[in-house]
Symmetry: C2
């Protein structure tokens, strides 16, 4: 295994001091053109580039941001990670991923690793917020002393940080309003876990919207349904089999598109025709929404934009001392076929 060429090797071979090599590398103008060329030649010959660990040690930073989220393989978080990656890349930074797994709290190990690595900033996304409030506050407060912190989700935490949120009001209002316009009155919400602060919020917002629009908010229409397809299947089945057919909802809003996928499968299995027998609205506007049958109307929370903003703000916060920033991203409804809007079809 080769030893890496160091700045000393270059300096010796070019017959200059290491300071001059650094100057050439950093494009410092205070170098005579002849010297510059000579040094550059040696650099090129050895394909020399300065060691990152040495630079980091000296500089006391890592040019790296951390992204802490439950699971990257989840499409929502995947989009956040990907967008954050490119935004960081654009700014000459790299990204380090930390997965906490479903429902797991932010661990002291991660906090200490973040500090050990001298991260330039951390972006928290998702269910870490389900942790014990006290521990969480301590962890974040501590972290905040070492690096800028950003969150994509309602932090509900007494910490000054970069706080980027989805517009939860619109996120509930948009589908309810759309369904109401199409004549639906009995609308169900399947999703999330009522135990998670982050996700139960969506359900609560949904109930509020129903009340505001004078629609029935029957508790039977509000079911805890997890985050994936299997949970979706089970949840509809549970909900519908517990209700007389004439009390069935005519539309279902789900926590996310995966749950919607499960719901659609289960409904077809039960012999219903979609969207005629049941309207569905998902959330996240995932890539497959246009390819389900019927295609799935969905709310887009624009996770990519939130991630990009978070990264931008983190990088800004490195320089300035402004520790606090807040932003709410509007949600958008993407209408497809799963509510029958395209069929000119209306209930009353």
């Amino acid at each position: 295994m080769n030893r890496k060429t160091t700045i000393y090797d270059i300096a010796r071979e070019a017959g200059v001091s290491t300071a001059t090599v650094t100057r050439v590398v950093r494009r410092d103008p205070h170098v005579k053109e002849a010297t510059r060329q000579k040094v550059q030649q040696v650099i090129d010959a050895h394909a020399y580039s300065p060691s990152v660990s040495a630079q980091n040690l000296e500089g006391g930073r890592s040019r790296t941001l951390a992204v802490v989220l439950p699971v990257v393989s989840n499409l929502y978080f995947n989009r956040i990670f990907d967008a954050a990656y490119w935004e960081a890349e654009k700014n000459g930074c790299s990204l380090r991923l930390f997965q906490t797994m479903e429902n797991q709290a932010i661990s002291p190990e991660i906090v200490s690793e973040l500090i050990r690595c001298r991260m330039d900033g951390v972006l928290f996304a998702g269910s870490i917020w389900s942790a014990d409030r006290r521990d969480l506050n301590t962890a974040l407060e501590k972290l905040g002393k070492y690096m800028p912190v950003a969150t994509i989700c309602p932090p509900d935490v007494s910490l000054e940080c970069i706080c980027i949120q989805s517009d939860l009001v619109n996120c509930s209002r948009l589908p309810v309003r759309h369904l109401r316009t199409l004549g639906h009155r009995r609308i169900a919400f399947l999703g999330g876990s009522m135990h998670s602060k982050d996700t139960s919020r969506r359900g609560i917002g949904f109930l509020e919207q129903l009340r505001l629009m004078d629609l029935p908010d029957d508790p039977a229409y509000h079911v805890d349904a997890g985050y994936d397809m299997e949970s979706g299947e089970r949840a509809v089945l549970r909900m519908l089999s517990g209700l007389d057919r004439n009390r069935w909802p005519t539309a279902i809003v789900t926590f996310n598109d995966l749950v919607a996928l499960g719901v659609m499968k289960q409904l077809k299995k039960m012999g219903l025709t979609l969207p005629q027998d049941m309207a569905i609205i998902g959330c996240d506007n995932q890539f497959f929404c246009a390819y389900t049958d019927p295609s799935l109307t969905s709310v887009d929370l624009h996770p990519e934009e939130m991630a990009r903003s978070a990264v931008r703000e983190l990088l800004l916060a490195r320089e300035s001392s402004a520790r606090s920033f807040a932003m709410i991203r509007e949600a958008t409804l993407v209408v497809r076929e799963s509510c029958g809007a395209n069929l000119g079809f209306r209930r009353f």
Copy 2:
């Protein structure tokens, strides 16, 4: 912003030398119990943990593996990345992602960054292989001098490295055999790009299988169809509209499940009933395969296992001087409804 506590701070406060602090941290047994406790107390009080950059500089490694792939948001690569993450994690390593984007060659910048960062190893996955063969060889040879290199894909490169491949023969044979058993004879292949060494291989393998099983290998049945849903839609349309109805294939094998999704949508749009009018087989066995309508039969290449093996071998290669390793992972056919096998339905 806090200054991070250093080993000197701890040493001073505990009244010992830095060497002793290091010993305590590293659980060296040559420390008197009384001293150990005293030092540990100071460490705990400051939540001290050694700086990663300093350790990396001193040790000449980074405890980090690089994963180079076209795009993480692609589900296939996402699974590779995720699996590699956990395997690395399990071994106390972290993972750094490099995205090359579609069809982009491995750039000299990435090579130099990998060396700069003193990566403990690199895992290449996917289309980097479409690069100019000469450049690629140079880049990899150079890299191989600094760190172990692993590839998940046929490298076709004169480099000793850890080479993990999907079983391309089975990957073509399984779907063709399945379809033949169901009575299909005219089978089409939609997928990949013929310009990419990596992906065209699949098409070639497919044609071979047709010949081996004595089925027609009409060139019209073999269409360049990209990697995503839109390309799938366009490709079937192009293929079918170019053929008399009586020459239509009765089954379509696609490069991946995304293409299959597009194909299914387009076929339905054309008024065909699936799987009766056309059988479909995808590849990758993605999470949504069980939720399409009809559910999608697919070939699983087990990318997670390949990624885990690659990471394991990279970590082993750090210690030993063995630079070469080869492994082929068998493919598996996951039968669902999209070929009508469940309907007891047969063509001839």
